[in-house]
């Protein structure tokens, strides 16, 4: 088959972008990979990585608990009010992350009205574990809700109607029909929001510099000691992230079949 000229232009432009994206990843893994052994003995780095994923998963689970019902309601009730909710959900995505951090700190610090209530049940955010979780939730929840809402949009309402005539209550219809059919989107939303949470640094630094998450530690080492100092931790973080997301995607594929 003779390829036409336009095809060459498209593939050349596309290839440049792919290389632009992959070359830094490859160099970081190659150079940092050599020093990966250092990370194993670096307790501060290991703690930070563990904390990143721990807080990331807790943030993801909380978002799923509160976000799934929201996504369902937004998908099933398309009116002007839900349009306002959908638009306002995009606000965190439009903000610089340091600004997002300022907002979270302002609203939920332990001297603010809501923050003082939260800290009474142990959810203090300033330089605290929950500060990390809150900052992560603030920036990643919109991604989850948007993705899962699209999933519910793709479920034919007639399926729910039929299930109800067959005797299922609204809740049963949700768990037996709507949720299983939107499950792919649910997992995709979870993975995307988890990725977003773990990569978050701007908002976290403002709300809770300590305890240090991995992304904070990378910045600290880079600013304090230079590129080489940050390299092995960066490579480790990149590897672990890729592995986690690759395995989540595999699990998702398995679940589909």
């Amino acid at each position: 088959m003779k390829l036409n000229k336009g095809y060459y232009i498209f593939s050349t432009l596309g290839s440049i972008l792919i290389l632009f994206l992959l070359i830094p990843v490859a160099i970081c893994l190659a150079l940092g990979g050599a020093a990966l052994g250092d990370v194993v003995q670096d307790k501060e780095a290991l703690d930070a990585i563990y904390l990143s994923f721990h807080a990331g998963f807790v943030s993801g689970i909380l978002i799923a608990i509160f976000g799934t019902p929201l996504a369902y309601v937004l998908s099933r009730h398309k009116n002007s009010f839900s349009q306002i909710v959908v638009s306002s959900l995009e606000i965190p995505l439009a903000l610089p992350h340091s600004v997002a951090g300022i907002m979270v700190l302002l609203a939920y610090n332990s001297r603010a009205p809501i923050g003082s209530l939260l800290s009474r049940i142990g959810l203090t955010i300033e330089d605290n574990y929950w500060g990390i979780v809150f900052a992560m939730m603030f920036v990643s929840a919109p991604i989850f809700v948007t993705t899962v809402r699209a999933g519910f949009d793709s479920v034919d309402v007639e399926l729910e109607n039929v299930a109800r005539t067959l005797g299922a209550s609204l809740l049963k219809v949700f768990f037996k029909v709507s949720f299983p059919l939107a499950f792919r989107h649910f997992v995709a939303g979870f993975v995307l929001s988890l990725a977003r949470a773990i990569s978050e640094v701007g908002a976290i630094i403002i709300v809770a510099y300590y305890p240090k998450v991995a992304a904070t530690l990378v910045i600290e080492r880079f600013l304090g000691y230079g590129l080489d100092a940050a390299l092995s931790l960066s490579a480790a973080l990149a590897l672990i992230s890729l592995a986690v997301f690759a395995s989540l995607r595999l699990i998702l594929k398995e679940a589909e079949q």
């Binding site: 034919d156 007639e158 399926l159 109607n161 109800r164 005539t165 005797g167 299983p180 059919l181």
Partner: protein, 353 residues
Amino acid sequence: MKICLELVNIWKDFKEFKLEKISLKAYEKEYFVVLGPSGAGKTLLLQIIAGILDPDKGKVYIDGVDMTQEPPEKRNVGYVPQNYALFPHLSVYDNIAFGLKIRKLPEDKIKLKVKNIAEKLEIAHLLKRSPRTLSGGEAQRVALARALVIEPKLLLLDEPLAAVDPVLRWELRGYLKKIQSEFETTVIHVTHDFTEALSLANKVAVLNKGVIEQIGTPQEIFYKPKSEFVAWFTRAGNIFKGEAKPIEEGLSIVDLGPVHFTVCGAYEGKVAVMFRPEHVVISKQPLTSSAKNELIGIIDDYVDEGPLVLLKIGVNGLSIKAYVTKSSFYNLGLKRQEKVYLYVKASQIHVIK
């Protein structure tokens, strides 16, 4: 006979569209067809019966019980939407068993019921399949089985034959009728195809723009339409407006200007007359006929419709449609521009006031 479904003065406003003062009764074991063009509100009406939509006003009685405020899961109504809506994540077996599992029947009972209904509907060999792999006809049977297995008081079918190809459609009509008599259930079937209504229904309601125009037996709808819309929608063929005047006992004359017709009954003032093309007798020579209406016309055009040929005959500027069988079309040697005699019995002309 017991009333199975009764709608009393149902109103529902959808902003761009309204269902208005819908009242109807369907008796037990009746095959009730709601006939109307697309956009008439047929699906919305079914969804109000099923409880998926709430009416703004009016009452829905099922088996004599007021169900207006009850959610769909309390109504025990089988619903088969136009796209069948089989659950894609469940096997055919689990689709059919869905309602039984919700009712928490013991596993062995569920198995038995699914097996029995699958055998009756001849889909036992499909039970392990995924709905995605079914043909249109198979999917329809599975959807019917899923709705029937819960032994519903009412079976609601939304354009059940629209999604299958035309050849299969004829076969499935017979199948639906058979299912209904076998399961002795009351069926509410909505369609835009009047031939479906004619071949399946015990009773027909014609719905147009959210209003019921007529309820009756298929014969009444077909031969005695109460409105011009019903006549037009059931392809009455010949509908003309004119001025009526009673003459001798039991007969009237309807003057259309260029032509007049003698009709049965006493009518006066503005009316429409309607007669079906199959009730027009065509001849090349004048006949000694008992028919009160003899006209002379010229064949303008004809359409071959398979077993029948539809003639379009000009009579003093009026275009009258008439059916002849294909064999008589050839025997008479009919051609365009040929002069013919038309005979219509007064008793076969229906007058719409």
